[in-house]
């Protein structure tokens, strides 16, 4: 395997920013090879890991070093030659630290991809240039849009096997672009690559003179993610109340949490939900001292000028920009449990921001076929990996936004109250 040379050899520093991305595709598309290539070309694979993988490949009779063995960590995965679960991988360049949620293509694809995509800034979908778009590519694109992943990259892989034919690239690119147009995908980048040979991965390849876009790594390093955050709607879910029992610190009462969206500043007028009481921010504290403003994803402690009864699960927002206080929720739900389906009338525990409640399924409007986007209105339940539009009623109000506007205050999970398993993931369409 040849070692591509990075343009900039400087070591990762303490001042990079962070990009989380999810990869989707099956082993056949060369996804593990692509990830292995990214790790290898950014010098993230260590000598002892490579040695172990080379030895394991040789003993399996693989023709070349099987970089998939780097990512398949569990015994059952190596035995069966499949990826079972989302694996997290890390690499860094001088510009950014990257967290990859590597989601398997074969088994429980929807559950795993939804999990990986839920925190992703970017989704990377692979197709095999020889095969073009397959059902799975469309499904991955749909899930990317459902989970509101802001950026999508389509890698058309194995271009070496079609002689770097521009016509092959154009045909797949056109087809995918027109499909993506139906899905509200806002930012799409299409890159011709050969993961095995490293073409257009860490640097531009001479094999594709007709392609004038960036290499994959260059795109990952430069894609603009700062504007993806919602800095408009102030949403501060209260996580924990800090009240020191101490003789040195007295009368301290701070509301700890992570800013979900918006910018908070001392002096700002705020409203606390669900009570609707208003006050002003006295200070925003961190262990390193007070700060002038707090924005996502900062974890801070907010103090108010008035004594209001506030506890975990409450939300600090602005008086004229508040989420819905709602017990009737319309949402797309992805079902994740293999032991029992979602049924109308069933009750579950629900966790939404820092708030926990119980909920009953009031209705299932339709089940969505993620391959054809066909809506089946006769469906009476959701099985594992199925997605449907569901109506819920909660025991206490949720402080909720539409998922399309706010991924933090618009997402929830459903938990089976007897097994305690996480059984569903929900994206709010409407809350009232």
């Amino acid at each position: 395997m040849s070692q591509a040379v990075l343009e900039n050899e400087t070591a990762p520093s303490a001042r990079m920013d962070l990009l989380r991305f999810a990869t989707a595709g099956s082993v056949d598309d060369g996804k593990s090879t692509l990830i292995g290539r990214l790790l290898y070309d950014t010098k993230t694979i260590f000598a002892d890991q490579l040695e172990a993988v080379e030895a394991a490949s040789a003993s399996r009779g693989d023709e070349y070093t099987n970089l998939a063995l780097l990512t398949d960590g569990l015994r059952a995965e190596r035995e069966q030659g499949i990826t079972i679960d989302v694996a997290y991988r890390y690499f860094a360049t001088p510009k950014r630290k990257f967290i990859i949620a590597d989601t398997p293509g074969h088994i429980q694809y929807t559950r795993n991809m939804v999990t990986g995509a839920s925190t992703a800034d970017l989704a990377l979908i692979l197709v095999d240039a020889r095969k073009g778009l397959v059902e799975q590519s469309r499904r991955h694109a749909f899930l990317t849009s459902l989970l509101r992943v802001p950026h999508l990259v389509l890698c058309i892989n194995k271009m070496d096997l079609v002689d770097w034919d521009k016509a092959v690239y154009d045909k797949i690119a056109d087809e995918f672009t027109s499909f993506a147009a139906k899905l509200e995908i806002t930012d799409l980048t299409i890159i011709p690559v050969s993961a095995l040979n490293g073409d257009n991965i860490a640097s531009r390849s001479e094999n594709s003179p007709w392609y004038d876009g960036p290499s994959l790594l260059h795109h990952l390093e430069h894609v603009h993610i700062a504007s993806d955050r919602n800095l408009v709607d102030v949403r501060f879910p209260v996580q924990y109340v800090i009240r020191p029992q101490s003789t040195t610190v007295t009368d301290y009462r701070g509301y700890a949490g992570q800013v979900a969206s918006g910018v908070l500043k001392p002096g700002d007028e705020v409203m606390v939900l669900p009570s609707g009481m208003t006050s002003t921010i006295a200070a925003i504290d961190t262990a390193d001292g007070p700060v002038d403003e707090a924005f996502p994803p900062m974890s801070v402690t907010v103090r108010l000028n008035d004594e209001i009864d506030i506890s975990r699960g409450d939300m600090i927002c602005r008086p004229h920009n508040a989420p819905a206080v709602a017990q009737d929720i319309e949402a797309m739900v992805c079902w994740m449990d293999e032991t029992a389906p979602l049924r109308v009338g069933a009750k579950y525990a629900i966790k939404h921001t820092t708030r926990s409640a119980r909920t009953v399924v009031r209705g299932l409007q339709y089940r969505l076929d993620v391959n054809t986007l066909h809506r089946d209105e006769q469906a009476d339940g959701l099985q594992l990996n199925e997605i449907g539009r569901v109506r819920l009623r909660t025991t206490v109000p949720l402080l909720a936004d539409e998922y399309r506007r706010n991924r933090t205050t618009g997402g929830f999970i459903l938990v089976d109250e007897s097994t305690n398993r996480t059984v569903g993931a929900g994206m709010i369409i409407e809350a009232q």
């Binding site: 990762p12 002892d48 694996a87 996580q239």
Partner: protein, 303 residues
């Protein structure tokens, strides 16, 4: 809305914010959390994060050390100093005591990594801990790459990798029945280099063995072990004094040093950034047993 300000956070700030969120989530949802503190660099960073998560209040839970009895003196000293400085309650789960009382049996090779697990589980049962913070990172080992931030353990403390709860957004599911528990890994998304950058940024003192020093060592399978009461020279072996530091601190009979001239945190960062071998691969005899050594130990309830 102001478009002029970048509202930028560095990756270290983002990681810190995530870890603090996780710790507060645990404190809000569990009855009896405990933080596993070995005096190793990851648990030291975790303790700093706990300090920051609840300031100006004290850390609201005790710390526990599963003590194999095979310790580096510098690390024990550090542990006691740090715990006293923060006014924390320290629980020591002693492998030696468990051996003496017949609760566990010493293995023929004298290693204590594996027999830590029943001692840990007994302490969890005795103190009824329901959430245990561990400093494990996903970049350390491939079985750990699939570990959740909130990792469910049944009443036997076992991990079932094929049956993990999906973890979406920052919505962690900590629900469990009495007797079951959750292992929580706030440093899941940190790498070895992130940990060192954070130690530098926060100016966190570490046990001296993390920095280059002269030590009498013996080379075994390409690893350098300190010659001391736990590791004696075998026939045909010779020791020598080399300049070394420890990249990880585990059981003193199992943990090797690496040759190093890095005697400051900045030099360690340069060294870690340039190194070509993983920290566990370079220093842990216990992980070399098989491809799935870590997975097997985790299934039994190991961290």
């Amino acid at each position: 809305m102001s478009q002029t300000k970048p509202y930028r956070v560095s990756h270290l700030d983002a990681l810190e914010a995530e870890s603090i969120f996780v710790m507060r989530e645990v404190m809000a949802e569990f009855e009896r959390p405990v933080l596993l503190f070995s005096g190793g660099k990851d648990s030291i960073v975790m303790l700093r994060l706990a300090e920051k998560a609840f300031a100006p209040a004290r850390i609201p839970f005790p710390v526990m050390h599963v003590d194999t009895g095979h310790n580096f003196a510098e690390v024990l000293e550090y542990r006691d100093q740090r715990v006293a400085g923060l006014g924390l309650n320290l629980v020591v789960a002693s492998v030696q005591e468990a051996i003496d009382s017949g609760h566990v049996r010493e293995l023929p090779d004298g290693t204590r990594n594996r027999i830590q697990t029943p001692v840990l589980l007994a302490a969890v049962e005795k103190y009824r801990f329901d959430a245990l913070f561990g400093g494990a990172r996903r970049d350390e080992e491939k079985a750990r790459a699939k570990e959740r931030m909130f990792s469910f353990r049944d009443e036997f403390g076992q991990w079932d990798p094929k049956n993990q709860r999906p973890e979406l957004w920052a919505l962690y599911n900590g629900r469990h029945h009495p007797g079951e528990s959750i292992r929580v890994f706030p440093l899941s998304n940190w790498t070895e280099l992130d940990v060192w950058h954070y130690i530098a940024k926060e100016r966190i003192p570490l046990p001296s063995i993390y920095y280059a020093h002269d030590r009498e060592v013996v080379e075994r399978d390409g690893m350098f072990y300190a010659v001391n009461e736990f590791i004696r020279l075998r026939d045909g072996e010779t020791s020598e004094v080399r300049r070394v530091r420890y990249r990880t601190v585990g059981d003193a009979s199992q943990t090797a040093a690496v040759l190093s001239e890095a005697d400051t945190v900045d030099k360690v960062i340069d060294e870690v950034a340039a190194t070509r071998i993983t920290e566990r691969g370079a220093t842990r005899g216990d992980d070399k047993v098989s491809e799935a050594a870590m997975e097997d130990r985790k299934r039994e309830g190991y961290f």
